[in-house]
């Protein structure tokens, strides 16, 4: 335990930072809770994208840079398809598109590169990223599209009795969070309780042994890329309904990188917890740390949301390179 003190210290510092605005009375409790919820909501989206990374990395050892592009591609597909059919049909068809994409990627990109260095596969996914960004525009167009989930966007006032002035929350955000929780529950069930889930965990642990008990690697890769595609679709639809479907959605993926570093590349739990930590952390820093910087150093104080996640990831890299929930990597020399 003694060696863990830097991690404990860092986590303690984060918690103190989290509590400080309330403790010093810098923020009214109602507003504080609003900011917290806003952060959690963004965090849920980061978690969804990061989960896609973790799923693929665990099952095939590939760091899939294209996860963000997959989010954009899926969101575009759903948005454009929904113009011609009901939303539910567009989402179902979108899932079919993502599964087809998984097949193509396995056949064209992964299979020829099997047993190559990790860096080669990483470069290949970089290629997939640019292909998907461009191909998405070719097929679906490059304007800003909207996805209408049919849930009112007006915020509602809740808990007026508890906090002065109540708390404003967005119904759509609540629905999105519920969907994300349901998705995580379904995935947990799939991985823990089904033979296919067991096979996927087996592949993640040891490729060679998995093959020797009759698990076909290729098919498992298609399945895991399909699952990652579906997770990307859910993230894309939620994100798209809040901000509109546009190129900037694919940049969310860049925020998912610090999330997976913080949470651990090999852990789905880590992706979820990491996403929430970073979502809350950056929102809190933006709202409460910003004004402090303005006051003390006479800085402009904005834009903290843009770099906070990376600084946090860097700190975690220093004290715990494998991430909060990742497996420690031990090389045999």
């Amino acid at each position: 335990m003694a060696r863990n003190w830097p991690v404990v210290l860092l986590c303690a510092a984060l918690l103190v930072g989290l509590a400080l605005p309330l403790a010093t009375g810098a923020s009214p409790p109602g507003f504080y809770v609003e900011v917290l919820l806003g952060g959690l909501m963004t965090g849920v989206l980061y978690s969804l994208v990061a989960m896609g990374f973790a799923l693929i990395f665990k099952a095939s050892g590939v760091f899939n840079f294209a996860q963000g592009a997959m989010v954009l591609f899926a969101a575009l597909a759903v948005a454009r398809l929904a113009e011609r059919m009901p939303l539910w049909a567009a989402i179902l068809l979108g899932i079919v598109v993502m599964i087809a994409l998984a097949f193509v990627i396995e056949r064209v990109v992964l299979r020829p590169l099997v047993n190559q260095e990790g860096i080669a596969l990483f470069m290949a996914t970089l290629g997939v990223t640019f292909f998907l960004d461009g191909f998405g525009q070719t097929v679906w167009g490059s304007d800003i599209y909207k996805i209408d989930l049919g849930i009112a966007k007006e915020p509602v006032m809740v808990l007026q009795g508890l906090f002065q002035g109540g708390i404003l929350i967005n119904k759509e955000d609540v629905a999105a969070a519920l969907v994300a929780v349901a998705l995580v529950a379904v995935l947990a069930l799939f991985f823990q309780k089904t033979a296919t889930g067991r096979a996927l965990r087996a592949v993640a642990d040891d490729h060679q042994a998995a093959q020797s008990i009759g698990i076909p690697l290729n098919r498992m890769w298609v399945i895991v890329w399909s699952v990652a595609g579906i997770v990307a679709l859910v993230a894309g639809v939620i994100w798209g309904s809040r901000l509109g479907v546009q190129f900037s959605v694919s940049l969310v993926a860049l925020k998912a990188l610090p999330v997976v570093i913080l949470g651990g590349l090999t852990s789905v739990t880590g992706a979820i917890v990491g996403g929430l930590i970073i979502g809350v952390g950056e929102k809190m820093a933006e709202v409460f740390l910003g004004p402090v910087l303005v006051k003390t150093f006479d800085l402009a104080g904005g834009g903290i949301e843009n770099w906070f996640a990376y600084v946090l990831a860097l700190l975690f890299l220093l004290v715990r390179p494998q991430g909060l929930f990742g497996e420690k990597h031990i090389d045999r020399v």
Binding site: V186, L189, F190, K193, T194, A195, T196, R198, A199, R201, A202, A204, D205, D206, Q208, A209, A210, Q211, S212, I213, G214, I215, P216, L217
Partner: protein, 263 residues
């Protein structure tokens, strides 16, 4: 050896003229031998003799440049490991290759994966036929667990078990596939004397109780001679001996290979 439950039968697996090279390195040169149903067949030889390559060819990890494998009357030379597994060939690993993130029970259950038929949704909900199927598979697995005497560790993550026990879990997982032929890659490697004796007993019991045909690799001659029906001896990728342990032990070529006569 005469009191066994399953008398040795017809040829079930034959290796015919197999040659394997990695670039300029010849790992195997024109190796042929047969394995009969229900027998314990050993492949022995000094380090680097090509034993593991031979096993990997049978298992489908390597595809030989020449020669074929005939298994249950079917000829193949380019099947992948998961296809040979489907056909009924299971294996264990010299360097353990267990699924470290799973419990002993789950590891062994993965061996049943091939035989699970119910659809995903039913499995996830534990409903109807899926539940019945799961119970059926669990019964098989529990039987194997009892048989290999690993009951106390059923729920333990495999990473925490001592080496000898992990080897036994590896064997259990392979057995769960109900293979016709079981390939054991140095099952005794790295074990102490007591663990070796246990393993020998388990191998013989498995052969006797399940009737599984066993092909095992060892470089420790003593152990092998006690438990195998017939032995193939490899040296520098070539077959230099084939016969009962008694015959092999008496062969001049084998003695030379083990005592190191210059080639």
């Amino acid at each position: 050896m005469s009191q066994r439950g399953n008398p040795i039968g017809e040829v079930i697996l034959s290796v015919e003229g197999v040659s394997l090279a990695f670039g300029g390195v010849r790992a195997l040169t024109d190796v042929s031998f047969e394995v009969r149903e229900h027998e314990v067949r050993a492949i022995i030889g000094p380090n680097g003799a090509g034993k593991s390559s031979m096993l990997n060819v049978i298992n489908g990890v390597y595809h030989p440049q020449q020669g074929t494998i005939r298994f249950l009357g079917q000829t193949y030379h380019d099947m992948d490991p998961h296809e040979t597994a489907l056909a009924g060939i299971a294996r264990t690993f010299q360097n353990l290759a267990l699924f470290k993130g799973m419990s002993v029970l789950e590891n062994i259950l993965t061996g049943r994966n091939l035989r699970m038929r119910a659809n995903l949704l039913l499995q996830a909900l534990r409903a109807g036929p899926a539940l019945r199927e799961e119970i059926e598979h669990r019964e098989r697995v529990e039987h194997i667990i009892d048989f290999l005497e690993i009951q106390p560790w059923r729920k333990t993550p495999v990473g925490r078990l001592p080496y000898g026990l992990q080897k036994r879990v590896d064997l259990a997982r392979a057995l769960a596939m109900e293979p016709r032929v079981l390939l054991l890659d140095e099952p005794m490697a790295g074990m102490n004397l007591e663990e070796k004796q246990d393993m020998c007993r388990f191998i013989l019991d498995v052969n006797d109780h399940f009737g599984t045909t066993i092909v095992l690799i060892e470089h420790d001659m003593g152990v092998v001679m006690d438990i195998s029906d017939r032995v193939v001896v490899l040296d520098y990728g070539k077959k230099i001996g084939d016969g009962t342990p008694h015959e092999v032990r008496a062969s001049q070529a084998v003695i030379d290979a083990y005592l190191g006569v210059s080639h």
